[in-house]
């Protein structure tokens, strides 16, 4: 069985009945990388937050299961759920600046996790933090450990969050756009590093991105989300040979290729959007009746 299994997960905005997630199902096995793509606002971060148990208060889960290592998190009492998630899953959040505490030095923010979650000695945690920063290609780990978040560039902050997610060697990592602030050379090194760590520890990785180029390099499986609904769930190779869903095909066609500047970066055509909206509405209607 997959380490992470989500079944028919639905969520809505409390008091508004506005659906944010629509019967989402997806699985990530140990040692596997699943990409999660879809337009801005589709609900990718919501899925990540639901897994980690950190949904905003305004959002309510209305149905479904989130199984972590076979146990449905949604059935556990809050304290037990938090413990279980803390021990086996980590998030690389989308927004590096707000995820870091502005008034604390970086070093403490990485080592806390090791000390609190794994019960390490402080000295050992500090050595590990230094090692991790070097692994994510940070040139001056000593300075960075003593810095406050605002003293670092965007890409440096993002790499710190990657390092701290891997620090405790979790069995599942949800990486929410982990390389968007990185230039492509660093991105490449980081992606290789993520793959290496992930292969070494057999981590299950859910990789949120909008970059299908990145998907083609690191993912084996892919889910395409539209308006909180999975419209395609596929192996990566066949996807690039020919997506099944018209919306996924349009996304792929719109992906920029620097080798072919003229043919790329167009908005998804209106007709495709209308068709996928109809599909979502139909699915809602069926779910309402059944």
């Amino acid at each position: 069985m997959s380490f992470l299994t989500i079944r028919n997960l639905s969520a809505e905005l409390k008091g508004h009945g506005v659906p944010l997630l629509r019967r989402v199902s997806l699985q990530v096995a140990a040692g596997e990388v699943r990409g999660l793509v879809g337009e801005s606002g589709a609900g990718k971060s919501m899925i990540g937050k639901a897994i980690l148990g950190i949904l905003p208060r305004a959002v309510a889960i209305t149905g479904g299961e989130i199984l972590l290592d076979g146990v449905d998190l949604l059935q556990l009492p809050p304290a037990q759920r938090r413990r279980r998630i803390g021990a086996s899953a980590a998030l690389i959040p989308q927004d590096p600046l707000t995820a870091l505490n502005p008034s604390r030095r970086i070093g403490g923010q990485i080592t806390d996790r090791l000390v609190d979650i794994l019960g390490w000695q402080r000295a050992r945690a500090e050595a590990r933090a230094r090692e991790l920063l070097a692994e994510v290609q940070i040139a001056e780990p000593e300075r960075v450990l003593r810095s406050y978040p605002h003293e670092l560039s965007g890409g440096m902050r993002q790499r710190i969050l990657i390092a701290s997610a891997f620090a405790a060697e979790p069995r599942l990592i949800v990486a929410d756009e982990p390389t968007t602030a990185l230039d492509v050379t660093v991105q490449k090194q980081i992606l290789k590093l993520i793959q290496a760590m992930q292969a070494r520890h057999g981590t299950a990785l859910l990789f949120v991105t909008h970059d299908l180029g990145v998907v083609s390099k690191v993912c084996q499986k892919l889910s395409v989300l539209y308006a909180g609904m999975v419209v395609e769930d596929t192996e990566v190779r066949p996807f690039f040979a020919g997506p099944k869903h018209a919306y996924s095909a349009a996304l792929l066609a719109a992906t920029p290729k620097y080798t072919d500047p003229a043919a790329s970066l167009q908005p998804v055509p209106e007709a495709v959007i209308e068709a996928v909206r109809r599909e979502v509405a139909d699915a809602d209607r069926r779910a309402g009746h059944g």
């Binding site: 606002g41 406050y148 890409g155 968007t180 230039d183 492509v184 490449k188 167009q266």
Partner: protein
């Protein structure tokens, strides 16, 4: 009054250093870190230039110095012929509307206690615009945000939606110059295309001058006619985009091109 000139933004031998607080002794001044080490270029009115470079190479710092959120420690910054290098806030105020920066980190640049409507309207009010409500709606439309988003707080938006609020706030002011710091990297390709189309329209129809910081060379190639490559606070390459892609001169640029992941599982990629 300075004469209007063909070059809207000029940077001459720009230096910027900041105190390194991590090495500050208990008494006395902290040693300084050199972040920008003598950067020079001029941006013609209506031109679109890309700024690329590795993480920590100084792109955001350069951007902040160009719109005078930071004060350079050496060299000059001229905006429309006016020396703004060391101008005080009072002297900058009448110019501020004309040069806008859109920030890399959308969340920290949006006031969390204000609704989207206020975030976009506040600067308009400050700069004495009329028809503010209509301008807010138009800016939302232009960046592809639903009008109902005007009533939301930043934390009630997705990452890409927040990014577009930052873009809407800047373009609503109808500036002459925009410095866009990594503004599309968090957007899906379709929203990226929409934002790039919008910027292209503003350049074409309103003569906007644009400096576009991005690590995405596909986007740079599509949008910019010229590219400046930074490395450790200095310019290592400054050329027309077409030349750069045809024959990258700096080793770093070649490495950049080779590292781009194309949407193709069979690409040999390192």
């Amino acid at each position: 009054m300075a004469e209007p000139c063909a070059e809207l933004h000029v940077v001459e031998n720009l230096h910027l250093s900041l105190p390194d607080m991590t090495r500050k002794p208990i008494f006395g001044a902290a040693p300084r870190i050199e972040i920008l080490r003598g950067i020079s270029f001029a941006l013609a009115k209506g031109s679109v230039v890309g700024i690329v470079g590795g993480s920590g190479s100084g792109k955001s710092t350069l951007g902040r110095a160009m719109v005078r959120l930071l004060e350079p420690t050496g060299g000059r910054v001229l905006f429309d012929g006016i020396d703004i290098t060391h101008r005080g806030e009072a002297g900058l105020r009448p110019l501020r509307r004309r040069f806008q920066m859109i920030f890399q980190d959308p969340t920290s640049s949006l006031n969390p206690r204000h609704r989207v409507r206020t975030i976009i309207a506040e600067p308009l009010r400050l700069h004495g615009f009329a028809d503010i409500d209509a301008r807010v709606v138009r800016a939302l439309d232009q960046v592809g945000l639903a009008r109902e988003m005007a009533g939301r707080f930043p934390h009630e938006l997705s990452g890409g939606q927040r990014q577009r609020v930052g873009i809407a706030r800047a373009i609503a002011l109808e500036p002459d110059f925009i410095l866009a710091d990594e503004i599309v990297s968090g957007l899906d390709v379709s929203s990226q295309a929409q934002v790039l189309n919008l910027l292209e329209r503003l350049v074409r129809d309103l003569g906007l001058t644009l400096a576009f910081i991005s690590h995405d060379l596909s986007v740079i190639r599509r949008l910019c006619s010229r590219v400046i490559v930074l490395r450790q606070g200095a310019v290592v390459e400054d050329r027309p985009t077409a030349d750069l892609f045809a024959a990258p001169a700096a080793e770093y640029t070649r490495e950049l091109l080779a590292s781009i992941p194309l949407p193709d599982p069979d690409q040999t990629w390192g």
